[in-house]
């Protein structure tokens, strides 16, 4: 396309210019007649409108097109919507065979959905790719426009071409009855009272306000870019950690892959009282508040030594509730969940000699990390086996079903006066339920049968004070998210840009008086209604009555 870019006023414009940079006369011949001018970037040329684009220019042009941007936005929107049809795989905590699960739960469509990868939409390469492309588009589009716009707005001419004025959205044209200079002065005064900055050259006038609002969209876009970069940055492993720790009351656990340990000193739940509940919920237990009294420790010595206990130093403590995490140097511990589950912490049983009825002890037996030897009176107990979650395998041999202390059992070798050198073997179930007691008796009896003990000893806890137990298990979610500050900064910048761009409007008024004929044009990027009533108001104060609506130059177009 060949286009003459030299204006009749003598100014040589860059290729792609729509309105002469100097006087505003339209340069493109085929602009639709008598419609308002396209004022978007004041008609200046942008980089993407260069002649003979090279490859890099073509990429640039692709991303600088708002049309492409809208396509990207719409495709992202549709992709995001498809991702909500069935639950995402990431919402299940453990899903061994997703394909199977989707087929079973959602039928054929579910299977197809899963096979096409929509069950992982938001982690998929194409979705992230779209976000990256939006980011690129944001950068390129903004750069492509903001510089030319800045230049155009900082070198505006006061006296504009008549065509330029006549073809604004808001136009007033009439014979002026008053003295041109005096009227211009008084009109300028009116505009100044409305906070316009006014420049006058003879009988030509340019008034402008709120130019800064033009930068709003760009500031918004910068914020969005920062936000997007931060979101992508969360993919960097060192920036992101997401772990779960479950603890019974009184338990201390290491936070996986860190030097930190956390202790659950106490867990409490408060339920709604019946009178606080509506009728249909009365009598049900509804949690009102739950809280973990947590202590955070840092390991300061012997951390990786498998033999020694690590040395822990308290660094922080906090009562963690749902909306109130513990936060220490970028590490955050959130209340994630809890479960009511009775777990023993320690018991203090006594060794009972059933022949004499004499009791020895008590000795202290902690459920986690129990020591290897105990003394009860003259007797020594050596721990030979521990089953945290006791069960029997197919051959009826004792085994542990898991590492969780759901149903602990301890096997002791008792030695002491009157006993064999090799000692006697007894099993002990500290949980006070009948089933366990029966099991204990049965197993001990079978030990007796095979000659491993004489059936002389049993165990007894006696008073409740000798048992300490945890009623709840708390689940904490441990997070590190180093990108968060950038996320918030990006969001804040974006918001500032939005407010600037939407709650203030850039307004400009041009006028010139030629042979007693006043030609006035006004432009705003938003709220034409507002500028019309502002112009009509100012005209009225200078003695020209005009209905704001009559200023609208768009009447004849649709």
């Amino acid at each position: 396309m060949f286009q003459n870019t030299k204006c009749e006023c003598g100014h040589q414009n860059p290729t792609g210019t729509v309105l002469c940079e100097y006087c505003g006369k339209p340069l493109v011949e085929d602009l639709p007649l008598d419609s308002p001018l396209e004022m978007r970037y004041d008609g200046v040329a942008r980089r993407s409108q260069k002649d003979n684009p090279a490859l890099i220019d073509r990429v640039w042009n692709f991303f600088s097109s708002v049309k492409i941007a809208v396509y990207l936005i719409v495709i992202t929107l549709i992709g995001a919507a498809i991702g909500t049809i069935y639950p995402q795989e990431s919402t299940f905590i453990n899903l061994d065979d997703p394909a199977q699960y989707y087929r079973d739960t959602y039928g054929t469509w579910g299977a197809v959905y899963q096979a096409l990868g929509f069950s992982r939409t938001y982690e998929s390469w194409w979705f992230i790719g779209l976000l990256v492309m939006i980011g690129t588009s944001l950068v390129v589009c903004s750069l492509d426009r903001v510089l030319p716009l800045y230049k155009a707005l900082s070198k505006q001419q006061v006296r504009k071409h008549l065509t330029f004025i006549n073809r604004q959205q808001t136009v007033y044209k009439a014979k002026l009855e008053q003295n041109p200079e005096e009227w211009t002065e008084s009109f300028a005064k009116q505009l100044k009272r409305k906070h316009y900055k006014v420049k006058i050259e003879g009988t030509a006038l340019l008034a402008e306000k709120n130019r800064f609002s033009r930068w709003g969209p760009y500031i918004n876009h910068i914020g969005l870019i920062i936000f997007l970069l931060a979101v992508l940055g969360r993919g960097v492993p060192a920036w992101h950690m997401d772990q779960y720790v479950s603890m019974d009351e009184g338990q201390t656990k290491q936070i996986p892959n860190t030097n930190y340990y956390v202790k659950n000193e106490d867990f409490t739940v408060e339920y709604y009282k019946d009178e606080e509940l509506p009728d249909n919920l009365k009598g049900t237990a509804r949690a009102k508040l739950y809280e973990t009294k947590a202590v955070l420790y840092e390991c300061t010595a012997d951390c990786d030594d498998p033999i020694k206990e690590p040395v822990l130093t308290e660094v922080d403590r906090h009562d963690i509730q749902v909306n109130s995490p513990l936060s220490y140097k970028g590490l955050k511990l959130y209340q994630y969940n809890y479960e009511q589950r009775i777990r023993l912490i320690t018991v203090k049983p006594m060794l009972v000699d059933s022949r004499t009825g004499e009791k020895y002890g008590p000795f202290e037996l902690p459920m986690s990390n129990p020591p290897l030897t105990y003394t009860a009176g003259p007797y020594t107990l050596k721990l030979s086996d521990v089953y945290p979650d006791f069960g029997m395998d197919e051959q009826n041999r004792p085994m542990t079903k898991s590492r969780d202390p759901n149903n602990p059992a301890f096997v002791f070798i008792v030695t002491g006066p009157g006993l064999d050198e090799s000692g006697e073997i007894y099993i002990y179930f500290p949980l006070p339920n009948a089933e366990d007691k029966q099991l204990q008796q049965m197993i001990n009896a079978s030990f007796q049968k095979s000659g491993n003990n004489s059936g002389r000893f049993s165990f007894e806890v006696g008073k409740m004070e000798n048992v300490s137990f945890s009623e709840y298990t708390t689940y904490l979610n441990v997070r590190v998210d180093r990108a968060m500050p950038y996320i918030w900064v990006g969001a804040a910048i974006s918001m500032i840009g939005l407010v600037m761009g939407f709650y203030w409007h850039h307004r400009r008024v041009w006028l010139r008086i030629d042979d007693g004929i006043l030609t006035l044009g006004a432009h705003t990027n938003k709220n034409t209604f507002g500028i019309r009533s502002e112009v009509a108001g100012a005209l009225k104060k200078t003695g020209i009555e005009v209905d704001p609506k009559a200023l609208d130059n768009r009447r004849n177009t649709r």
Binding site: I73, W109, E276
Partner: protein, 419 residues
């Protein structure tokens, strides 16, 4: 009298004031042709009456809100009933703001019925004050819900203005393809609204008649440990069961017009008892909507849009275009702040992640992307007039889907109990 009963009385007063306000605005527009009147004076007078009634209704609505807050002990935005009434209040606020800028009675005639429908819809849900679960007990949640609703309210006003604009500019005399398409499109929007009214009519009608039915459904499931779970769920219907839940048995059922048994059973892919009930509700809404629409068509003998069209000729479509756009321009930053940024802050504090791709979150993002597409198209592709009006109409449907549809169709962390 305690706070909660003051509150529910204020709610009823607000409801009626809104209805009267609607009538006022209608008279302002429709009564222009009444004989021997000064058209401008008539319009001004009745528009003023409509607006004053709207303000009074809104004040009463505020009374409802704050007394319920006082009586319930927490801000009433935590279940569907409370949220929808709050949304109605926010739309009224947005309407008042936009009305004060542009002063068009037409906007009132379309925004007030929208509010009436929304608060009637709210009343379908149980209105008891419910206790909060701990995650909801956060200042950020309050800030989030209120600002998000405020943003959405401006979108609602934009929808009202865009709908008037479409009704105003669509050419009902033309048989051209594009004109016919527009005519159909506008008519379908009206039908959509009438179906919602049909829903309200059937729910309140059968509720007033004390209708009920109950079903039981037994469910076998195999959980992840390979154990069989057997659960029995039951569900109560307020509407006569045209569709029963899949594989269910009737516990009891009031007969309706000789109908003693459900006519159909929901298809098997509709999991759970509630899916059957929701499907039944949808069918009833469509039936009653169709009846209402049929009656209206019989009376009017032409498309409803064509009935409304001639009453709207007093206003410039450009002004409506501007109002619709301006409402979005005001609402967009508010929505961004409320529905996305505050939501992220709250999610970060309560759930330890600022974003979790929960369906509700995703739909808030979709809404936001949709309106940003609208803004870009308008700004740089010159999509103004009818094109942008269509987008504003569709945009509000997206908003409604985010607020209601997601709860009905897809459930997530945010889901309130749905009808």
């Amino acid at each position: 009298m305690n706070w909660l009963s003051i509150s529910s009385n204020a709610f009823i007063i607000a409801f009626f004031l809104y209805c009267f306000s609607f009538i006022g605005f209608c008279i302002a527009i429709g009564g222009r042709r009444w004989s021997n009147r000064d058209v401008e004076a008539h319009k001004k007078r009745w528009a003023r009456i409509g607006f004053v009634l709207a303000i009074l209704g809104w004040v009463s609505h505020l009374v409802f809100f704050f007394t319920r807050w006082k009586g319930g002990g927490h801000i009433p935005t935590s279940n569907m009933y409370e949220f929808m009434t709050f949304l109605g209040m926010a739309i009224m606020f947005a309407f008042i703001v936009v009305y004060l800028i542009y002063r068009t009675a037409l906007l009132g005639a379309f925004a007030t019925p929208l509010v009436v429908i929304i608060i009637a819809y709210a009343s379908v849900f149980p209105s008891e004050v419910q206790p909060l679960i701990p995650a909801l007990n956060s200042i950020w949640l309050k800030v989030h819900v209120t600002t998000a609703a405020a943003g959405e309210a401006f979108f609602a006003v934009s929808f009202a203005a865009a709908l008037v604009q479409l009704l105003r500019v669509v050419d009902f005399s033309s048989k051209e393809k594009s004109a016919v398409r527009q005519q159909r499109g506008v008519e379908w929007v009206l039908i959509f609204i009438i179906v919602i009214i049909g829903f309200l009519v059937s729910v309140f009608g059968f509720r007033a008649g004390g209708y009920s039915a109950e079903f039981r459904q037994e469910n076998f499931e195999i959980d992840q440990q390979g154990q069989e779970l057997d659960s029995v769920q039951s569900v109560k219907y307020d509407l006569p069961p045209i569709v029963a839940p899949y594989n269910s048995e009737t516990v009891h059922m009031t007969s309706f017009l000789g109908m003693e048994q459900p006519l159909f059973e929901a298809p098997s892919w509709m999991n759970g008892v509630n899916a059957g009930r929701k499907l039944n509700t949808v069918i009833w809404s469509i039936i009653s909507g169709a009846i209402l629409y049929g009656i209206a068509r019989l009376i009017a003998r032409k498309p409803l849009a064509a009935v409304i069209h001639p009453h709207l000729d007093g206003i410039d479509p450009e002004d409506l275009d501007e109002i619709s756009y301006r409402a979005i321009a005001i609402g967009f930053p508010v929505f961004t702040l409320g529905a996305l940024i505050f939501a992220m802050i709250w999610a970060q504090i309560a759930w330890s992640r600022f974003w979790g791709w929960d369906p509700k979150e995703v739909w808030a993002l979709i809404t936001w992307l949709f309106y940003s597409a609208y803004l870009h198209l308008r700004l740089s592709r010159g999509w103004q007039g009818t094109k942008s009006a269509w987008l504003a109409v569709i945009g509000f449907i997206v908003v409604l889907f985010t607020l209601i549809g997601v709860n009905l169709v897809i459930a997530g962390l945010h889901s309130y109990a749905g009808v």
